[in-house]
Point group: C2
Chain length 247, copies 2
């Protein structure tokens, strides 16, 4: 039985729910997880509210191998992710000595005052490990199966690059795409039959709509090349048959 | 006390979680909700899995005034939203006579066969009301406080335009933005003081990072113009003071 590794994402931030900022991190995480064979199973967006963050974390972390959060780890009053994660794990949130020193030295080097606000970025749940931030020093952190990262996409992506080598990965889900010039109404019936005949694959049908015309992208996914190819061939043959009949 | 109206969004689809399709509907819904004075409080993305959809719906619908779903209402085997919503409400999912007739006539007019797959799009929970689909006929539906819409952005947006006039709206959250040429480390302390002094506002700090330089967008939100203006003036004065000190 191939190993299945799962993940969920928790996006923290009022600015996403108000529409002011459009999230780009979910799509990036999804791409990376798919590339390394981890199944992203759920994503949630919650406001900057400690009770909401704690409830979401405690709902997600027993269910999935890994949890990834973005947002709320900066120096301002609305950055409450570290406190919320600590509360979810029932540990104190405190200044991390190494993070404090890194930040102190970095600001000193640049001749910038190490304010109380900036010191907040050295706080993390007791027992957390750093996630390096090559962009702006202040680290993310990991505790248990929860990886806490920045919301600014450039920093999130850099942190995630540092996290990926530490993850156990599953058997990569392979995929093959069949372009289908017909809408879902044409293919729905036969496609359901193909799915039934190939239970070890997941066949997705993604309707596209361009300038008044429907077409469909059919995506076969499987963890073995053989299963993938058998189902892909069946889907392609269905599309070819329909095209011949229509042509 | 101004009326508070809340909403949550449920995005249904494997294709979003695999990264193949990047969601654009959450951001659009967020913009529209903010514009009409409804607070979007949470968003979730779940796979095409009936148990997951039912669990998410039943977690969300008692908590918020309105729930909006996108995805999974097409004609293929992986379109299971109507069945899942019916199960969440404990009612049968059945052919809706009016939707069936609309679809039948539309396909007849275009000389297209009304296949079993296409007929699936006429299925909805018993007691549901239509949400008109001006793009491709097959309606969305509303049952209780749940609005079920298409995942294709052009169709989702058209359906949502039809839903908006039916919603009760709250007192619009007003907002004012102050551009701040400093990073969050500079302003974190004084901004927290301003937030404390203006408890009837929400002051958000959104770090921006462009080409090696941090700056911040400070957003004050409030339901009254007076509260908004008082807090905005305090934030602006803080930024002006820092600029004068730095200059």
């Amino acid at each position: 039985m191939p190993q299945i590794v799962t993940a969920a994402m928790l996006v923290i931030g009022d600015e996403i729910l108000s529409g002011r900022t459009k999230d780009r991190n979910i799509g990036h995480l999804a791409d990376i997880m798919t590339a390394i064979g981890i199944d992203l199973k759920e994503a949630r967006i919650v406001p900057d509210d400690e009770d909401e963050i704690v409830a979401a974390l405690n709902a997600l972390r027993p269910r999935y191998t890994y949890i990834f959060t973005t947002g709320g780890i900066g120096p301002t009053h609305d950055d409450i992710t570290a406190d919320s994660v600590a509360r979810a794990f029932g540990v104190p949130c405190e200044y991390d000595a190494r993070a404090y020193k890194m930040l102190e030295e970095s600001y000193a080097r640049r001749g910038i005052e190490f304010t109380e606000a900036r010191k907040r970025m050295a706080r993390m749940p007791r027992g957390a490990e750093h996630i390096d931030n090559p962009v702006s020093v202040a680290p993310g952190f990991r505790i248990g199966n929860v990886h806490v990262m920045a919301g600014v996409p450039a920093i999130f992506q850099a942190m995630l690059d540092n996290v990926v080598p530490t993850l156990k990965t599953g058997v990569k889900m392979l995929s093959a795409t069949v372009h289908c010039p017909f809408g879902e109404g044409v293919i729905g019936g036969p496609l359901a039959e193909i799915q039934k005949a190939h239970p070890d694959t997941i066949i997705g049908s993604y309707p596209k709509y361009d300038g008044g015309r429907f077409w469909t992208e059919l995506v076969v996914r499987a963890r073995s090349q053989e299963a993938l190819e058998a189902a892909r061939a069946a889907v392609q043959s269905m599309v070819d048959g329909l095209a011949a009949a229509a042509g």
